[in-house]
Amino acid sequence: MKKELSISAIKDGTVIDHIPSNATLKVADILDLKGIRGIISIATNLTSKTMGKKGLVKISGKDLTKEEVDKIALIAPNATVNIINNYNVKKKIKVTIPLVINKIIKCSNPNCIINNEEISTKFYVLNKDPLKVKCHYCERNMDKEDISLL
């Protein structure tokens, strides 16, 4: 058994792997972790064969929503989401940036109707890497630097 596993093996839950080290806390931050009773481990600067350094987030007793997976894709485009069932990896999901991003990002244009009315945001992905999106409402393009999560 690997050393990191011995620290935080979980029976049922989710392991988010292959996070760039500097994005680990951000990934943990966007997940809805309120009310989780099980162990949550956040590890960063782990040695990785493929990435050099990486981060990991392990949460027992939680399944991710589609929105959470999409959000992770925006922060950690190469992350893997592992679904753990009875101590085993039951399913592995490679996160992908969707073509249309619903709800999870904010429009940087203060004059956009979505910043003034109670409606969900919607963006079209023009380019995945570097990320470039277009607001469905105000039609403004936003580059990675302008993109912030809701």
């Binding site: 109707i113 979505i114 003034n116 109670e118 469905h136 105000c138 039609e139 403004r140």
Partner: protein, 305 residues
């Protein structure tokens, strides 16, 4: 092509064929009076921001076709001031009208209105974003005065940074293999995103601050006002406000068949002395708005298919 119930929100929503079809119907509208075409149809005009020309043009278009208009001219007269959302205002208005024209200071408002409404929405300006009926009347004017849209040398002059008419017209003309000349002081030049889009579409363009450098090449010169309200700093505005003042001194430096356009109102960027020359088409351009708006109303209301 069936436009019944279609929303007219952004020039980006239209293919080349659709644009040409709208222009074709506009021409029919200019030729034939059609006084009963929109009988029993009601248009609501929701102007949350002042506008004279656009609103009157819609009003007149609707009434000339036998339709009725209801609406309000400023936000002050509505419950907006009481904090009603745009969504709710549209939900209410669509119950009374067959189509809605909206002008609103926030970008994306027309798209939202279209989502709230089951009746067709026509965007008459959403902040700095889109004003598609202006773009269509610009296209219509170019087609009319040049006899074609393809392969033209188009100059855009003035405030290219903030001018939404310039941005939308550039997008629309990109279907027709143009060459663009963007003439503006560096600080007011065409935003990089638009230039990148042109590069992607392999459309030729040239940027300069000096009109004389390119004036002889142009088939169309589209002039815009330097908009005072866009400048946070009045000193900056003073610096740019008078940079281009076209007058008869320009005449030796342009082609005989150059046509000068302007979305109006003008300040001092085109001198009155040019009004009577064969180059000036800006008043005709404004008048063309009515044909285009008649066409759009008849199309979205399903009376022309």
């Amino acid at each position: 092509m069936n436009f019944e119930n279609r929303d007219i929100i952004s020039i980006h929503d239209f293919s080349k064929q659709e644009l040409l079809y709208i222009l074709k119907i506009s021409k029919l509208m200019e030729k034939n009076p059609n006084p009963n075409l929109l009988n029993n149809k009601i248009l609501a005009t929701l102007f949350f921001e002042p506008s004279t020309r656009t609103r009157l043009s819609f009003l007149s278009a609707m009434e000339q076709l036998g339709g009725k208009v209801m609406g309000f001219a400023t936000a002050g007269m509505t419950s907006i001031k009481k904090g009603e959302t745009l969504w709710d205002t549209i939900k209410m208005a669509q119950a009374y009208a067959d189509a809605i024209v909206i002008r609103h200071p926030l970008e994306g408002s027309a798209r939202l209105a279209a989502e709230a409404s089951s009746k067709p929405i026509i965007n008459a300006g959403d902040g700095a974003n889109q004003h598609p009926t202006q773009t269509l009347l610009d296209l219509y004017t170019i087609q009319k005065v040049k006899g074609k849209l393809d392969n033209l040398h188009i100059g855009m002059l003035g405030d290219l940074k903030y001018g939404r008419t310039v941005h939308s017209l550039t997008t629309a003309l990109s279907h027709f293999n143009p060459k663009f000349y963007f003439i503006a002081p560096q600080a007011l030049q065409m935003p990089q995103t638009y230039l990148d889009e042109l590069k992607e579409k392999k459309i030729k363009f040239f940027t300069t601050a000096n009109l004389m450098k390119v004036s002889k090449k142009l088939d169309i010169l589209y002039v815009t006002r330097i908009q005072k309200e866009r400048f946070a700093d009045p000193v900056e505005y003073e610096k740019y406000k008078g940079v281009y003042k076209l007058d008869t001194k320009l005449l030796p430096h342009i082609k005989k068949d150059l046509k000068i356009m302007h979305p109006l109102p003008r300040v001092d960027e085109i001198d009155k002395s040019l009004d009577d020359t064969q180059h000036a088409v800006y008043f005709e351009q404004a008048a063309n708005g009515i044909h285009v708006r008649k066409a759009l109303l008849s199309l979205v209301l399903g009376r022309i298919k």
